[in-house]
Symmetry: C2
Subunit: 457 residues, 2 copies
Amino acid sequence: MFEEACRYLTQHRSVHIEELTHWLTIPSVSSDPQCADEMVRCAEYTARLLTEAGMEQVEILPTRGHPLVTGQWLHAPGAPTVLIYGHYDVQPADPLELWETGPFEPHIKDDTIVARGATDDKGQVFMHIKAIQAMLKTSGSLPVNVKFLIEGEEEIASENLPTFLKEHGKRFEADIMVVSDTAMWDRDTPSITFGLRGLAYMEVECTGPDRDLHSGGFGGAVANPAEILARIIASIKNENGHIRIPGYYDQVREITDRERELLARIPYDEEKYKAGVGVKALWGEHDRTVLERVWSRPTVEVNGIWGGYTGPGAKTVLPAKAFAKISMRLVPDQDPVAITDMVADYFASQAPSSVTIKVNKLAGGKPFHTSVENPFMEVAADALKETFGREPLFIRNGGSIPIVAELRDLLGLDTLLIGFALPGSRAHSPNENFHLPTAWKGTEAIIRMYAKFAAIP
Amino acid sequence: MFEEACRYLTQHRSVHIEELTHWLTIPSVSSDPQCADEMVRCAEYTARLLTEAGMEQVEILPTRGHPLVTGQWLHAPGAPTVLIYGHYDVQPADPLELWETGPFEPHIKDDTIVARGATDDKGQVFMHIKAIQAMLKTSGSLPVNVKFLIEGEEEIASENLPTFLKEHGKRFEADIMVVSDTAMWDRDTPSITFGLRGLAYMEVECTGPDRDLHSGGFGGAVANPAEILARIIASIKNENGHIRIPGYYDQVREITDRERELLARIPYDEEKYKAGVGVKALWGEHDRTVLERVWSRPTVEVNGIWGGYTGPGAKTVLPAKAFAKISMRLVPDQDPVAITDMVADYFASQAPSSVTIKVNKLAGGKPFHTSVENPFMEVAADALKETFGREPLFIRNGGSIPIVAELRDLLGLDTLLIGFALPGSRAHSPNENFHLPTAWKGTEAIIRMYAKFAAIP
């Protein structure tokens, strides 16, 4: 059935590109209240894609936030049941001026489709939908039972999914969850991810005087909230990037020797890494390798900062307020709620009485870590090897898919993270893109993988 | 002639309020390129006010930036010549959302006219124009020779005026310059200002990676420019607000015993001061009084800061760039150019090799300080005392009027700073306003003052 399915994909490629393109034109920015209607429109199109693929009981299920889309095919008695998780929401597109073309005007350039969501995650969800569609259209059945769970709040840390699953968890029970929302090591080297960092996010508001003041009249006597906020942010780390908030590392689990072995196999090239992001030097904990820092160490990051006059020219003002968006990437066994409280308390404790600090705690998610000895992971590795002609690497990822840890807690479900983004895919950045030849190759690997899953007792 | 002039003012008050109101509707924001046309419109209306007042050779003179307005009346042979300096440009109005009504929709509330520029400086220039108009209309002559110099770039540190005056200084020669762009101690206590802080202003750009990065993928390994900028800003002062940039205080002149005497006479009330700006505690050099800090000590102030994601909700981005607008208030004998270079070099020297710093040096101006033993100052004090029924205070001002020091250098001209803004006038802040009864009283004081100037040999 593999050949027929692949032939089907080749024959229908142009239609599939049209479908993906249409999906990418919908600005499904979950964090932007103004996109609420677009979120619904995007959920509806997602449901349509599942229906066309042959899924049954396709539904758009409301949550307390944005709806999620589900569908299933359960006619493979005795075979494992796979829960395919993905998300149709995307990151905000700004800074808009850095996009070569509109973030929601997809276009193909050098075999690569450029648009917000191309790789994170619409493009990768699309691969699973089309793999299954190809099998169903050519052989009328699937080697495994399949359930889809495509949510609309992954980029806001799946705020409402856990609550939803506490009520509706039953319908999503499965033997394994498969997620394609991570990356390959490079274009030639497929990868399986066995660890994800968690996330905690907050907005800090620092208030000084009750209005913007003339910096001449008051400068030197009244605390400047932008300066105080800068002082607190600066105090969080030492000059080596080590976080000084008391207790911040208490729950951090050190990586094992087995993991060090796997890390050692990775052909990491520092010069290439620096060139890839356009910096002359890296930064961070000097006593840790770069891969350890981004995969196994927690962070405190300034995602945004603003206050005072930011227009053209000079304005001599002592601002009334300054703000910062602060996020923490977490590693096992840090708890997002505990860390959020810890960092919020730190900001409050460091503020002089001349300002007041208000913290708005936003979404968070637990870190994820799983064993590399797992039958689903092993056959997935075989499928990748057969397709790409190279042993896949076992890696971790510095990013977060909060629901992965949640689902293990809620449904006792382990997860296989098999991703096809490339280092240049620019997830979360302007000109996000997805390399189509990799997408088509990955779709073949997914077909092979599901076939192999059938053999797992 | 005093009584007639005052009667004239009372009789024409409503017309004068209409004129001031119209002047305030013109958004003459010199720092905003989009306001270029409004600046011209504002200069034209300023010229019209001078002509109606009876000034001769009224002209709008082009500079390399915004035009300035001049006019003169020189028919008092043997009497001193007074150069009246002021500015028709205003600060930007933002944050707009904090204005109770439009910043350029003047309205009167409790005897107070509310609009950007009401007190800084259109309202105070208006007092001089009307004082002179009243004298000319009622007695056909003035007790002194008068020249007006009303510029359009004071809020951007008179960028082009010095160059202009190097060529056209001759026509502005006078015996004294009078400026009303400062404040009274309070509604009942007139004040003469004998010192102003200087100004240096720069925009700092800190660049990290060549694009916004996924904070999960790269956080911990790539320097965050918003964090680095915060670290450098935080390093500028110690916890007492003392500036640690090497050499920053080298040229600072300590205040004299005579000044300490004058300072001691000032009824400063710390609780009132704190309540006035809505803070629980003040900040700054602990070993200096508040008045010393704002009048006789230099600052480094963050006027604005921005970088990364500042929209609604959460975006997990490691920003490519962060920016800050930094200004320094200077005291005798600090030099704006030297200080600008010193601070710019400091930012560059503190940046790790993982980021690059670019400094855009904006306008600057020298500090001003003059002797309180000066015949013009003495008779001005008498005029204020006769009008307000109270001895004026001799004060300094933490703000800057860069041209004041420039003119002394260029024309050897000393300056009398006689201001009528009130502590609640909110110059540079939302809901800037001017207390009209104080304005009319001050206009009478100005008429008395010019009469007394005539007696100065």
